[in-house]
Amino acid sequence: MPKDHGIGAPMKRREDVRFLTGRGVYTDDLALHGQAAAVFVRSTVAHGRIKSINPTKAAAMPGVLAIFTGEDFKDVGGNPAGWLINSRDGTPMREPKRPVLAHGKVRHVGDAYAAVIAETLSQAKDAAEQLADDSVIEELPAIVDMKAAVADATNRVHDEIPDNLCFDWGWIEDNRAAVDAAMKAAPHVVTLNLVNNRLVPNAMEPRASIGEYNPGTGDYKLTTTSQNPHLTRLLVAAFVLGIPENKLTVVAPDVGGGFGSKIYHYGEEALVLAAAKKLGRPVRWTAERSESFLTDAHGRDHVTKIELGCTKDGQILAIRTETLANVGAYLSNFSTATPTFLHGTLMAGPYKVPHVYVNVKTVFTNTAPVDAYRGAGRPEATFSLERVIDKMCRELNLDPFEVRRKNLLTPDQFPYTTPVGLVYDTGNYQATLDRAMAMADVAGFDKRAAASKARGKLRGMGLSTWIEACGIAPSHLVGILGSRVGLYDAATVRVNATGNLSVMVGAHSHGQGHETVFAQIVAEKLGVPESSVEIVHGDTSKIPFGMGSYGSRSLAVCGVAVTKAIDKIVAKGKKIAAHMLEASEGDITFEDGKFSVAGTDKAKTFGEIAFSAYVPHNYPLETLEPGLEETAFYDPANFTYPAGAYICEVEVDEGTGKVDVVAFHCADDFGNVMNPMVVEGQVHGGVGQGIGQALCEFTAYDENGQLLTGSYMDYPMPRAEDVPFYNVDYSCQTPCTHNPLGVKGCGEAGAIGSPPAVVNAVIDALHRGGHAHVTHIDMPVSPSRVWQAVNG
């Protein structure tokens, strides 16, 4: 019997009651008295010089309250990048100002250069159309292709950056010569050129923001679709608008998905605040889906050459990669960390590889900014690595399972320092590989392939053994690596006088299930029912200063802060109990919600202690403060390292090139599992996104920088029919060694591990079908690409 509550219980998510009955409250659901509507005037050209914006006609239109242009914000700060990366030669990255509204130049289709505030949305749209007509923008040649961008010194996204290069990063630069030598000496070298396809995040809820300003107090409030309200507050207040942090409250209410795209601060948030101040009334904006396509930070977009040196029997000796990573027109907040420290540091994978060197050049283009998207850098690393290993197996006629096994780190090798700067604390990669192979019935594959053949389909099987670094992140380490923030998190546990609890957390739930899982942890630790625990998040006026949710960090960082705060509650409770029970503090034990004097039947319940803390009639007031509320900040000592083995089976229709994923097996090691149902849901979602990247999704700009896949008519999202019933297992558990919950994080795993498993399976199917000339197909492995690869 599984537990029915507490840690490890597959409890249904409490938040789903409101989500599934339409009772969630999202930003756009809020109707405020006196609210005005904002509409942005966005560039229709990818690159252009703003010659003039004449607001006369638009300003005179019905209902128009205010018009803003880049001129209004030219003296305020820019939206900064969160990480400073240095180039190989030690020079700092080029960091152009990212203004609230484009000023001087527009740099991608969708770049906002003006905003209209009006009484109604319809009036604002009418005036925005007029303003667009009355704006003169001289179109400049668009810079779209990364290779062309770095080769052309005359055409510049930012006039002050001659080669459109943000930085040229080497990791680890000092190892470069040794890696080159190892590669040269390797008996066999495999080379793979690949594209990691650019993705549009497509959160179900588009971005939305409401600005408020109270002229009587000088207080601002921003309600916005954010994954990290405190970070947004820091950015918009301290960096952009210069509002003191104490005068700005940021609220992220229910948020309908983010996948990274809502980590970042966007100019629309600053605009609605500035407009609210100017007008003294609330100003709201909600993106239309087409705006989401054009302006949400996109994901991935790497062009990579990876080389792998090995012995003839498949022992990996060296790995070397060269990547062009697109950052788009401006640096989004995490854009410089994503292709570097979230990517290069994972290039050793779960393998014992002596020599690894990663080179990444980040390139400005006239496209939407690119930043972290579910997995963020780690899917790109995993894809490169798992694809080149698969190619090695084909070139040397080796079994991909045995090759993985030969190269995987073994449990006795932990802690293990990789050649790319991480220290893996624990793991058992053989165990997950064994588990996945058993789940997938690898031995029975030939029989299934024969059955597929009888149905006219080619069947293939693909493997990926993946690892990620998450639980982002140890501040001391990321500080050395260039981060401009700390990456701890925080929780406040407030025991109310009647014994129930309000727990304020810095993590933000936008679909993850924190309200359920954090309550399970509190309930387990304090011996109270989950129903007496309320999880409060998303409001900077209520919660402690936390860093939000991304990088699979909520549980491994904020969840640990919750447990640390609970430890303080228990410690204080023991003091109160000792006083009430007239015993010494050292004799008090706490178990199952009761403070007892060891060896006696004298005890006080948790509720009695809480009551006493707030009605301190019989209480050690001379040595102890009343009340029962504790805050803990937790800064992790290391990243956590979830890992696993994924096996995918596909059927390929040779006539049409269509790939069907017919089976997908996941054996993951997430350390201890708090709620298996939530973990399964996270893996399902992640693998779904990974299959989407592998088979469906792509983002196409034409040579003029026009987004060709700007709606669901052309941007292929995966649908239910594109994914199989997943077979998910998390029974291999090596608990994280450096956090007290022993947890590792599971939010991004599926999106990291799955794309190479899918593509490897397609290549396998084609080889089995006699199409051995097909050594690689870039994602998405769409029907037309498969057909082209086979027939081209």
């Binding site: 159309e129 087409s290 669901y712 052309d714 941007y715 037309s784 027939n791």
Partner: protein
């Protein structure tokens, strides 16, 4: 969306009158027109709904075959045509999703003549007759290229009459994003020969594949197609498939439609 006036006449005559006004635009299920208006790419002064006219609704067997009112939603055709013309019902049941099928209509589809719409292939392959408020138009004369039809100013489709073939099937391969037909092939076998209607593939919209019709009229089997080649020169190319890929799909799907027709 810009403001507009709305009229919902209950007779074909009243609809014709309303549509004669300046800036009037016929509205059926609105599956193309409404999104276009929401994007402010169209701003008709008046929308004249054709869905309140009783004689433009429903499915029945009559002179010349199966009569389908132009304002009949796909979901109704999927249900009510099933026992008379199963291949046509299958096609209707595979358009879009349930929301689209409950609003979108056959008349709207063929009046718009989107080159990736499903219905035009069935109308053409069945040799159907398009009935308008003014006249009857043979399918072969009706479709005139991308988004182009024989309909004149003020003319609208009131029903479509489908001769019922001995055997038929529609096989479509979805465009991965929109799930419109990247290519769709409708094969219909009549006593006097086979007709093959292809949608999604041609660079001039829906077309008949004459070589396949000749081959299949002689031998209604997939193998009859083996020697045929589709010229990519006439095919559409876009993000989701080259002309050569679509040419391949035409042949592959025609064979599969023949097999499905039995």
């Amino acid at each position: 969306m810009h403001n507009f006036d709305f009229a919902k006449p209950s007779t074909i005559a009243d609809a014709a009158k309303a549509l004669a006004a300046d800036g009037a635009q016929a509205l059926s299920g609105g599956q193309t027109l409404i999104p276009t208006m929401k994007q402010r790419l169209a701003a008709p002064a008046t929308l004249v709904s054709l869905t309140g006219i009783a004689e433009m609704q429903g499915v029945c067997v009559g002179d010349g075959g199966l009569h389908i009112g132009a304002a009949t939603p796909h979901a109704v055709v999927a249900k009510e045509a099933a026992k008379h013309y199963p291949a046509l019902a299958d096609l209707a049941g595979g358009i879009g999703d349930p929301a689209v099928r409950s609003r979108g209509t056959i008349g709207g589809s063929i009046a718009n003549n989107d080159p990736a719409a499903c219905y035009p292939s069935a109308v053409l392959a069945s040799g159907a007759t398009v009935v308008t408020n003014k006249r009857k138009i043979a399918a072969d004369d009706y479709f005139q290229g991308l988004f182009s039809t024989a309909l004149e100013e003020g003319e609208f489709v009131t029903s479509v009459v489908f001769p019922i073939p001995q055997k038929a099937a529609y096989v479509k391969f979805n465009q991965p994003a929109s799930r419109f037909a990247l290519t769709g092939v409708f094969v219909a076998k009549f006593a006097n020969g086979v007709r093959v209607g292809v949608t999604g593939a041609g660079n001039d919209g829906v077309f008949r594949w004459a070589e396949a019709e000749r081959a299949l009229s002689a031998d209604f089997s997939a193998s009859a197609l083996s020697g045929l080649k589709v010229d990519p020169a006439g095919m559409n190319a876009d993000l989701h498939g080259s002309a050569a890929y679509r040419a391949n799909l035409v042949k592959v799907l025609t064979g599969r439609a023949v097999m499905a027709a039995g």
